[in-house]
Amino acid sequence: MEASDQRGALVELENVSLQYGESEFTIALRDASLTAQPGEFVAVVGPSGCGKSTLMKAATGLWKPSKGTVRVSGKVVDRPLSIVGMAFQNSTLLPWRTTLDNVMLPLEIVQPHASRLAANRAEYEQSARELLALVGLSGYENAFPWQLSGGMQQRCQLCRSLIHDPKLLMLDEPFGALDMFTREELWQVLQKLWLVRRPTVVLVTHDLREAVFLADRILVMSARPGKIIFERQIDNPRPRDLETTYEASSVEAVHELRSYISSARAAINDPLQQKPANAVSEGVS
């Protein structure tokens, strides 16, 4: 599973197009390319509906691209990978499992944990509890998802994506439902974890401060069908603290990104200019 490609990229999307269904108009990605080096922290930003979540699904092999290739560790991806930890945008906690059991789910699937779980249950459970405590959910281990608030569900999902110490961490707006304080705290938690474990992270976010605080590199996507239209390196030294987000270099980065997203959106905004017409409906009814 080690990177074997000469370029050494862990994730590599090459001109990936992805079309949901059969209609021309359900193309969500068009010629999107992306590379993430092992251990790199990449953030993806872009207007709503541009294809960020789709990009994540393509990169992890959850959806096969219609065109182009996806490589992870140099190998072409043709099925979902087992080195991924993923936090989905919508809550996808299993309703029949408690918080703790939801968090422990990856341990039941991913090796080597799966085969060690039975024998080392207590130990694994301990680490799940610790993770939950880290995001402020201790005391809720035995609650069911519907007994958690929206933000709590999101935090639980974050734990689930981290528990098995994945090589590749895909986070789709993991902090969207949280207040600023909880969010900033979890930025720091995530940074710490990243510095220790060094997974490759792809983070989708709408919060540019978040992107600038956390990422090594930020990619801006165009409006749908999405492709990467701009890339910005963030070289602030690690570990960063929250103050860095108020420093001039960060603020300037935020401003630059913002202007790119703004231009990316323009196309969609004027309904007369590019109307997706009966876009999706064609493919459905």
Partner: protein, 277 residues
């Protein structure tokens, strides 16, 4: 329960809750008693002869008089039914999972299964006799054949309608198809499964009793055949009552499992805590 109640309202609430639980437990009894009372009244008022419709009181008294025979027959029937039902659950689950997970298999074998299932099992029993002879075996097989299909259909539907979003959670971890079914498909289809059990357990009794009345000389089916061909209608009804009772008993057992396994699906939007508490 280990936490002392602090608020003033708690004890009162708990009491009324206990009462509510008691009413809940008694409610089905009340319904059954009411039905029997109306029945008894109708029979007496219209002086319906017992060979047309025996009064419940007569059924009970005949049943009580012949209790050792009825219980023996009931034990036999219960055994064959449970065997057939257990087979149906096992095969129904497995086949349901297979049919539910594969569109191709679904499309290919559903029509055949529906066709087979539309055939009255009475017509199959004589053929069974050829292969396995007369006795409890055809009853077990009939119970299995008749109760297998509802389980298959419901489990397959449950599996086939799993939200792709949930599947993706496991797929993203590189889970195998089998793991996805174990961790997502099966728990998600438990409400379907238990719904089908209610139908299947009833049908299993129907199947074994039907077979007993054709190809056995034991069990409630045989007892009822003998009783009805001698026109001992109250005795035949006693057999029916015992069967109904066994059906209810089996329901109670599967219901207990259901509450444990699908409590998560039944949560009242007002009470917040699973309404099965």
């Amino acid at each position: 329960m280990s936490i002392p109640s602090v608020t003033a309202t708690a004890p009162k609430e708990r009491k009324s809750l206990g009462l509510r639980r008691l009413t809940r437990k008694l409610a089905p009894l009340i319904v059954i008693v009411a039905i029997l009372a109306i029945w008894e009244a109708v029979v007496r008022i219209f002086a319906i002869p017992s060979f047309m419709l025996p009064a419940p009181s007569e059924v009970f008294s005949v049943g009580w008089r012949t209790r050792s025979i009825i219980l023996g027959a009931a034990g036999q029937t219960l055994l064959t039914t449970l065997l057939g039902f257990a087979l149906a659950v096992a095969f129904g689950l497995v086949a349901g999972v297979i049919v539910g997970s594969s569109r191709v298999i679904y499309d290919s074998i559903y029509p055949t299964l529906i066709g087979f299932n539309s055939i009255p099992k009475v017509a199959i029993i004589p053929i069974l006799v050829i292969w396995v002879g007369i006795g409890p075996v055809p009853a077990v097989i009939t119970a299995f054949l008749i109760s297998f299909f509802p389980i298959l259909v419901n489990v397959a539907t449950g599996i086939a309608t799993v939200e792709p979003e949930l599947k993706d959670v496991l797929r993203a971890l590189g889970a195998s198809q089998v793991q996805i079914i174990r961790k997502i498909g099966l728990p998600r289809s438990m409400p379907y499964f238990f719904a089908s059990l209610k139908v299947a357990i009833s049908l299993a009794f129907v199947g074994s009793i039907t077979a007993e009345s054709i190809a056995s000389n034991q069990g409630i089916g045989y007892l009822m055949l003998v009783a009805s061909s001698r026109f001992q209608v109250p005795l035949a009804f006693a057999g029916l009552f015992v069967t109904a009772l066994m059906g209810v008993g089996m329901y109670a057992i599967s219901s207990a499992f259901e509450k444990r396994l699908t409590g998560w699906t039944i949560r009242d939007s007002q009470s917040g805590i699973g309404a099965n508490g």
